[in-house]
């Protein structure tokens, strides 16, 4: 279980999340919705350990271990993954190199890793040439998002935060991404997905268990999949 316990989070300038608590259970699919600036991305980045955000009170625990102060790479090793809203370009570094550095050679040989990458790229319909180009440099929105999914697939995490994975993505790519999530879930039913989105579009493709609504740095609503539909129809203001 990934447990968020009364965390208050600020940047250098202001407090963004106020006393938030929530438990993410293994094997579930969550959606987090909310208007821009409601704190959704900050919430995900804080759980990943972004040093831009300070947890001034409260704790984050994973499998009962307190990870509030751990650096991002240790959280990654423990099974947390975040696909950011706008994946940054890393000039001169390919996705293969990034993943090769991320995963020890003791765990997987380069040949096996390369084979896995190629297979997943094929699965996601990622153009082969993108694998040997600088990561995300001059990639389209859809290409970036698919590349994030590929990395999630290879790194095989347990708690997967997808921040607006559906933004800037055409319908074909969206279907591919949703199918890829479903497939990851089929392979390992204990995987937990936390999908941050503005739209019902991706949620209708996936069996969402719970929907959270954030507003002004707190969780204001919590319900089942029908909550997403309600928001789609009525908006966030009740």
């Amino acid at each position: 279980m990934l447990s968020i316990q009364k965390i208050t989070v600020k940047t250098a300038h202001k407090e963004i999340l106020h006393d938030i608590s929530f438990d993410f259970l293994p094997g579930k699919i969550y959606a987090i919705m909310g208007v821009n600036g409601s704190g959704k991305s900050t919430f995900a980045k804080t759980i990943m350990g972004d040093p831009a955000f300070d947890v001034i009170s409260g704790n984050i625990t994973l499998h009962k271990k307190n990870i509030t102060k751990l650096p991002p790479h240790e959280r990654a090793h423990m099974g947390i993954f975040l696909a950011p809203q706008s994946p940054l370009a890393i000039p001169g570094v390919t996705v293969q190199q990034l993943l090769r550095t991320a995963i020890s050679r003791d765990i997987v040989t380069s040949e096996v890793l390369l084979e896995k990458i190629n297979k997943m790229a094929c699965n996601l319909e990622i153009k082969k040439e993108l694998l040997t180009r600088s990561l995300n440099e001059d990639f389209s929105g859809g290409e970036r998002k698919k590349m994030e999914m590929l990395q999630a697939g290879i790194l095989d995490p347990k708690y997967i935060f997808l921040d607006e994975i559906d933004t800037g993505v055409d319908i074909d790519a969206l279907i591919k991404i949703s199918a890829f999530i479903a497939q990851m879930k089929d392979t390992d039913s204990q995987k937990t997905f936390i999908i941050i989105t503005h739209y019902n579009r991706i949620l209708s493709q996936l069996p969402v268990d719970e929907v959270l609504v954030m507003q002004n740095g707190i969780i204001t609503e919590h319900g089942n999949a029908s909550l997403a539909e309600k928001i789609e129809n009525e908006g966030y203001q009740k």
Binding site: G49, A52, P71, P72, P91
Partner: protein, 470 residues
């Protein structure tokens, strides 16, 4: 972020790979300091002809009259009186590693030179302190007339070629360190490639300073005759001492009509060494001269590889990278002198500064009045890893002909915290993330150097990143 636990992903033996010292050995050693007598003594040690001795003494006179450069890094800590200018470690120059004194053989074994030689080089020369102690070249090349030997032997064996080219591109009057080198030079490579001969595998020279408070002054002369080609690689290392040493080389290169020369340097001197090097090439009609220059070591480096494009359609390029860490000043750059029409030049410079290091790019592009349709492109990128470090860019252009197309692009980026977080969120330690991004930044350079060395460079950079994250 600095309190993150560090993961040591560097082979522990690698850290010591270059930074080890052997007991100093010598069969002949000049007194500390410099004067005309010392210059004469060095010449006598080498049994030189009158011409060379005269050249040296004249150069010494110029050295005493020249001031240190008034621009660029502070050189005041160099004490010319506290340096040994000549040290012969052994009088057994050999073409067999096993014939060398144990200390020397072990040094090169540890650095890995004999292994490289076996696997992918056409010839190797190794200089230890003042003189070349090992040299060998593939027999086929000798049969084709290729000459690859130490400069001292060349003066004796090929006096006519040497006289024709020696000191012609870089006269002793050029600068104080060129004058000093001209006075006390010792060792270095002499290469002559006959017409239309293509040397397919690289020739490599390896320079090692082992002694303390010492000066190495090698002198290299490369002549590629018409239509020939060669790739020369030099590597330089030394153990770290707290005392100051000096490396002041002079390198003169002649690419004759339609010849092609690539000169690759991997400089990893220890931080107690001032590296003040003058390198210049002349590219005649249709010739190509490429400098690939990687500077990681030394306390202070001043080096501006130059190409004089003297014949039409000649091409010159300088592709360089510099990494300046704590207490390092790397002042490097390139000069392209377009003296003929339809000449082109291309400069890529990438610098990384961290831990308070200073890296500076100085460039000079000149286009002579009579040179039509010249093209020159400079790209100059700097990366700063923290706010203690500095990067400077001083491009200078002197364009006398309106038909020239000269462009200069510069960029500076700070290693982005968001990018670091992105890479770390994939499971990379902070050090791994930095190394990966720095290596990505210089990928354009590393892809130009042989794989064996780019792997080495990659490790060296990782090591610098390890030092940095404390």
């Amino acid at each position: 972020m600095s309190d993150h636990p560090r993961q040591n992903n560097i082979d522990p033996t690698f850290a010591q790979k270059h930074d080890f010292s052997m007991p100093e050995i010598s069969v002949t050693k000049a007194r500390r300091g410099i004067n005309a007598d010392i210059v004469r003594t060095i010449s006598d040690y080498k049994n030189e002809n009158k011409w060379m001795q005269g050249f040296r003494l004249k150069a010494y006179d110029i050295f005493t009259k020249k001031d240190l450069p008034s621009w660029g890094p502070d050189l005041s800590k160099i004490n010319f009186d506290d340096i040994v200018y000549f040290l012969r470690a052994t009088d057994k120059k050999s073409a067999n590693w096993n014939d060398l004194p144990q200390e020397i053989k072990e040094t090169y074994d540890r650095i890995g030179v004999p292994e490289h030689e076996k696997n992918w080089l056409a010839g190797v020369s190794a200089q230890y302190e003042s003189e070349v102690i090992y040299e060998s070249i593939h027999k086929e090349l000798t049969e084709q007339g290729v000459i690859f030997c130490d400069m001292d032997s060349a003066v004796r064996t090929y006096p006519d070629i040497v006289k024709k080219y020696f000191g012609k591109l870089i006269p002793p009057t050029d600068n104080k360190f060129a004058a000093l080198n001209s006075a006390v030079w010792s060792g270095g490579s002499f290469i002559y490639i006959p017409k239309n001969v293509h040397v397919k595998l690289p020739l490599q020279a390896y320079f090692r300073i082992n002694a303390e408070r010492f000066g190495q002054f090698e002198r290299t002369l490369i002549i590629a005759d018409e239509g020939s080609s060669v790739h020369y690689i030099e590597g330089c290392t030394a153990p770290a001492y707290s005392t100051q040493s000096l490396h002041a080389a002079v390198v003169e290169i002649f690419a004759l009509k339609n010849a092609r020369i690539r000169y690759t340097t991997i400089q990893n001197w220890s931080k107690n060494i001032s590296n003040l090097v003058t390198k210049r090439a002349r590219a005649e009609e249709g010739a190509t001269m490429e400098w690939i220059d990687c500077n990681l070591g030394s306390g202070t480096t001043m080096k501006y590889p130059t190409v004089l494009l003297t014949g039409k359609n000649a091409r010159g390029s300088v592709i360089s990278m510099a990494l300046a860490n704590t207490e390092q000043t790397i002042d490097a750059g390139a000069k392209m002198m377009h003296l003929a029409s339809h000449t082109t030049s291309h400069i890529i410079s990438k610098s990384i500064s961290l831990g308070g290091g200073i890296s500076t790019y100085r460039g000079l592009i000149t286009v002579a009045k009579k040179a039509h349709d010249v093209k020159s492109y400079t790209q100059c990128d700097a990366m700063l890893l923290d706010d203690l470090s500095r990067s400077n860019t001083y491009p200078t252009m002197d364009i006398q002909n309106n038909s020239a197309k000269v462009s200069h692009e510069a960029s500076i980026e700070c290693l982005d915290k968001e990018k670091l977080f992105y890479a770390m969120s994939r499971g990379l330690t902070e050090t791994q993330a930095r190394s990966m991004m720095v290596n990505g930044f210089i990928e354009e350079i590393t892809k130009e150097i042989p794989l064996e060395y780019s792997v080495e460079l990659y490790r060296l950079i990782n090591l610098e990143m390890e030092r940095f994250v404390r």
